[in-house]
């Protein structure tokens, strides 16, 4: 009974805590070079997911959503690159970025096996969860930890645009049901 409970609690924690936080919690306060790396990595992940969706998605709303993700995340990352160059900061790899990248490549492999409506559903559901996790991390960790004002402001713009993405993904997910 006790074992069962703790397993259930562990599962609940695993499901409810955004993955970004797990990696970051282990580390001390994030530095700007680490924050920049995490934000950029998070963007690349969604760009890669969108590219996969462009190849595999069938539903036109899902295709259009993937196109929006590609356009916006590429724009944010372009801006992020310009900013780190301007600030002369070298983004620094860290545990959170590594965890994110690992989870993302697992998802890409998993979704690669799916086709048609099954792919569409899985991709959109993951986009909802992913944007939720990223937005949670931006709000509670990345933005408060950012030291440089311009980096903070870029993250705030990112949060605003990704909140829109989350709503959009939720809307598409509801339509697919």
């Amino acid at each position: 009974m006790f074992v069962r409970w703790s397993a259930a609690i562990a599962a609940a924690i695993l499901l409810s805590s955004p993955m970004l936080l797990q990696g970051a919690r282990a580390a001390d306060k994030l530095t700007d070079p680490q924050i920049a790396h995490i934000a950029y990595t998070a963007g690349v992940i969604d760009i890669n997911a969108a590219k996969q969706a462009q190849k595999k998605a069938k539903n036109k709303d899902v295709k259009a959503f993937a196109e929006d993700m590609l356009r916006d995340h590429e724009a944010v990352n372009k801006q992020a690159l310009a900013l780190v160059k301007k600030l002369n900061v070298t983004p620094e790899d860290n545990d959170t970025s590594k965890t994110l990248s690992k989870q993302a490549s697992d998802k890409l492999a998993e979704f690669d096996k799916l086709d048609g409506a099954a792919f569409d559903k899985a991709y959109v559901a993951n986009e909802v969860a992913y944007h939720k996790a990223v937005n949670g991390a931006l709000e509670t960790q990345l933005i408060p930890s950012a030291g440089n004002a311009e980096l903070k402001s870029l993250l705030q713009t990112g949060l605003k645009i990704f909140q829109g993405h989350q709503q959009h993904a939720e809307h598409v997910a509801a339509e697919l049901k």
């Binding site: 356009r71 916006d72 724009a75 372009k78 801006q79 713009t157 605003k160 909140q163 829109g164 959009h168």
Partner: protein, 106 residues
């Protein structure tokens, strides 16, 4: 030149000046940081709207009633001339949280 002809020229001039109001204005509407401002604008038929996108994101100004659909690449502007009166609600197709209203008087 007979009076009838003069009259019709006069009419034509009057008509022209009606069709092309002398004081057509240009109104700027800016999209910056995912916000459209001003959120509400009053204009007249014949006025030009200059849409200015200051964001690094592509935006659109899309009328809900289908009257216009302007695409604005990042950091670009575009103009459109208002042709029809009415209160038009519009939004960005890519970022539907961006919403605003255009009140177009005849």
């Amino acid at each position: 030149m007979n009076p009838g002809r003069l009259g019709s020229i006069g009419l034509a001039i009057a008509f022209l000046s009606l069709a092309v109001p002398a004081h057509a204005a240009t109104i700027e509407i800016t999209m910056e940081n995912l916000v459209i401002s001003p959120a509400e604008v009053s204009a007249k038929v014949g006025d030009t709207i200059e849409w200015i996108n200051k964001d690094v994101f592509a935006h659109t100004a899309t009328a809900k009633n289908g009257d216009f659909d302007v695409t604005l690449p990042p950091k670009k502007s575009a103009t459109s001339v208002l042709k029809k009166a009415g209160t038009v609600e519009y939004y960005c197709r890519y970022h539907p949280n961006m919403k605003a209203t255009l009140k177009i008087e005849p």
